[in-house]
Symmetry: C2
Subunit: 274 residues, 2 copies
């Protein structure tokens, strides 16, 4: 059996940047998980004494807090600022952008539509920057029940599929006078997705590595499954099952944007040993 | 054979309004044809002494000029204003709107993309309001050769099919950061098109009445042909051919937005006489 890595996979620019920031801030704590990968968070704790604090009230004056890659809510940032905490912002610039757009557009009187998962930390953060009406939706049905203003600004969660974003936008364009569309989907996501699609077409088993609660990893799995029915999402080598590879000729491997390279190589080596 | 009129057809709001304005401006001239229908223009001349002047230099001080439904270029309007001509504006408000949008958006530094026919008077007029870069395109191929700014504003010719507009917009959204979409396609066009589609599905011969150089009439023909292969575009009853109706059970009739009701009824009566 051949084993192939996708042409693009794993850590994106924003995650690499956030890890570097954390590594350079020894003794700090992140507010919420820095990225969606518990293994990497453990490594940062062990090697760089970077802690993880989920309770915003636990921070005290002169503590150093690292803001995670997905960003936090505007009012939480305000809360930390008011406490005189040292704030090191590791929010991905591709997430800061929709935060700024939502703030500016709501200020100009636009209704805001966010294409994304209302429960995702990135979207909770982006949404919090609206000064007016804001709606988080995942599909057209949810738009049909809204009575929006004639001027609408739209942003997307950075990790969403552009095809689905276009479906929502097309509905809005047909039904409203002005739709101001910001393409906030991240190129890294496109590139990992495109490479997963290419690789899945040439594979008879696909291993997708990443957090099971990571939105972009789940999307890689969904793309892999479109072209290769035997596709599995795992977080580490211990989840591999030998029978997945029985009678297979070509195994493809891809990984979500929060998956460290060392985890990927461990898994690749274990598959090669079968 | 049954003969059915489409549920919506013929004159739109803007054309009805322009004719009313012309009828109330006895002794004036229109600069260029008021609407795309020579029969109606002849009637206005005969019954209301409303002339047609194609040469802008022929207008003199204190002449009264009616601006046609499709609008004129900004510099032509300026030229008439400078000559102290009495200007009666019969530009359809749905055409004035994209003119204003193009002026405002180009002023704000957006690259302008107009979805439409560069040779159509409406589009020549709309385009003339841009203070910066402006591109008139009909399909995605034309967009691929452009190197646009990251901020793009898009308007459409009022009579275009929204499906084709969405194709262009989707291409832009995938490739650029901000696409500000104005849905300037007119509801009347939608309504006539939807009704033509419905009727064509129930008909085995379709008669589309309107100017052969009228963009919205040609689109009705194209929609009719999708569902009914025997569809014909005519301007008046004299073009009807009896063999079109031989062996047919259901004749559908629709008409472009510049077609007067009296022409439609003449044609319907002639078909009924076969």
């Amino acid at each position: 059996m051949t084993i192939n890595l996708a042409e693009n996979y794993g850590f994106c620019f924003g995650v690499k940047r956030a890890i570097e920031i954390a590594e350079n801030t020894v003794g700090s704590s992140t507010y919420g998980p820095l990225i969606h990968n518990s293994k990497e968070i453990n490594r940062l704790q062990k090697d760089f004494n970077v802690g993880l604090q989920e309770d915003i009230n636990a921070f005290k004056k002169d503590d150093t807090v690292v803001i995670r890659t997905h960003g936090i809510e505007k009012q939480e940032l305000k809360h930390l600022q008011d406490k005189d905490v040292n704030i090191i912002d590791a929010t991905c610039p591709y997430v800061t952008k929709p935060q700024e757009i939502v703030e500016e557009m709501s200020d100009k009187g636009y209704d805001i539509v966010i294409f994304g998962d209302a429960e995702h930390p990135e979207i909770k953060g982006v949404k919090s920057y609206s000064k007016g009406r804001v709606f988080v939706v995942l599909n057209q049905d949810e738009l049909e029940n809204l009575n929006l203003k004639s001027k609408i600004a739209v942003v997307a969660q950075t990790t969403r599929k552009v095809e689905n974003y276009l479906k929502l936008i097309n509905y809005l364009i047909i039904n409203y006078k002005e739709v101001r569309v910001f393409n906030t989907i991240c190129n890294a996501t496109f590139e990992n997705q495109d490479a997963a699609r290419d690789l899945a077409q040439k594979s008879d088993v696909m291993i997708v590595i990443g957090g099971k609660n990571s939105s972009n990893t789940k999307q890689l799995l969904s793309i892999a499954k479109e072209y290769c029915s035997d596709a599995y999402l795992i977080e580490g080598p211990e989840e591999l099952q030998t029978q997945w590879f029985e009678g297979k000729n070509a195994c493809g491997i891809t990984a979500g944007a929060s998956t460290p390279q060392w985890v990927i190589l461990q898994i690749k080596d274990k598959i090669a040993s079968y």
